[in-house]
Point group: C2
Chain length 217, copies 2
Amino acid sequence: MTTAPQTNAVKPAAVSGGPGAPKTARGARTRARILKAAEHTFGTLGYHRAGISDITRAAGVAQGTFYTYFAGKEEILRELVRDMGHQVRAHLAAEILDAGNRLEAEERGLRAFLQYLYENPSLYRVLQEAQFVDEAIYRDYYEAFGKGYVRMLANATRKGEIRPGNNEVRVWALMGMSNFLGLRYALWDRDVSFDEIVDTLSDLFRNGLTLDGKEKP
Amino acid sequence: MTTAPQTNAVKPAAVSGGPGAPKTARGARTRARILKAAEHTFGTLGYHRAGISDITRAAGVAQGTFYTYFAGKEEILRELVRDMGHQVRAHLAAEILDAGNRLEAEERGLRAFLQYLYENPSLYRVLQEAQFVDEAIYRDYYEAFGKGYVRMLANATRKGEIRPGNNEVRVWALMGMSNFLGLRYALWDRDVSFDEIVDTLSDLFRNGLTLDGKEKP
DNA sequence: GTTCAATATGACTGGCGATTCATCTTTCCG
DNA sequence: CGGAAAGATGAATCGCCAGTCATATTGAAC
């Protein structure tokens, strides 16, 4: 019994959400620094190329410190996706608040999303890579996003601002549009102005794509 | 000079595209088996979790055989993306051929894409993961896809089938839609029929999203 | 049936990187 | 102050896996 006198019954606090939330102002600061560093590192190198040492170096802490706050590499990714998800949703919600109607909300929302992605390119990469590390967290992100979106479309339908239709399907289509337009025109090449993009989509929302088939009642 | 009598001047054939294309029917068969196995393995486990040994086991060959035909893990992914890209494009092009107009082509194209993704789920995963392994190959895929798409929209514009507008932006929006709808309704949950999805999008293309703003000339 | 290039084998290796841990430092609070 | 909990350190570990290589098999040409 001499070999392991106190290896048992340790870790009394590290139960629920990772190896213990910080209990000190210093701890909270360090944890936040690591999270921020991870966002940047994952966003730049990608999840797999990025090592824990890259993150801790960027955060200015020792490797071991990482595990004071996060259970491992996957866990910090999950945390990151949750955090970033909250941020985008809050940001977009605020940008949409003073829209007079749904069309205007779509326009403002799309522009705000493109701008946000341009300013926070890590969002795209972290999110999309998370899909293949932990699919559930990825689904959660889009389902949370989509849920609010569907609610807004339902309201707009009630107000007579948009045509009745399958809003859930529409929402997934709309999210897909934004995603691709963001990738192409906010991250890859800014060779088309955001205004032009928004105008093009706005025209689609107002008039559709086809010339005939206008079944104006 | 006794140490390395013939280590130089070897590899006379393995220059351009990987460690030598097969020069035998048997070789061609083996290479194809490995490629197919990689598609399945990457599609199931994902690129990073999948080991070369998983691929060779699925193909029924030894580990070393892999390197007779592919320079490494990244290279086979590139090959796979190119291959799969050709296949989808060919398949969709064929499905669209006998469409009477652009709207019908969009409807058939979307339905065919959803069906194809349902039957070949690996396509999505391989392609999306390739984005973070070799971004260029991913861009190539969508730019090739988009180029043909834009051409078709241009023709439709000329024929007066669709409203004039920025077809490039439209194409990226459309590709984004299909991508997300495919992920959600063909890969995750088939809780909405493909017909319903196609109808919803068709309505969007014909009439837009809004109720007012019909600027019928 | 002999020969040789192409193909196939699978044990081995080298390095990378996530995680651990014994130890030291800081902070908090009475 | 004193000492205990919380936080920080970074060298060491350890499993994994992409890629290599010496050797064996195949099969087609002659």
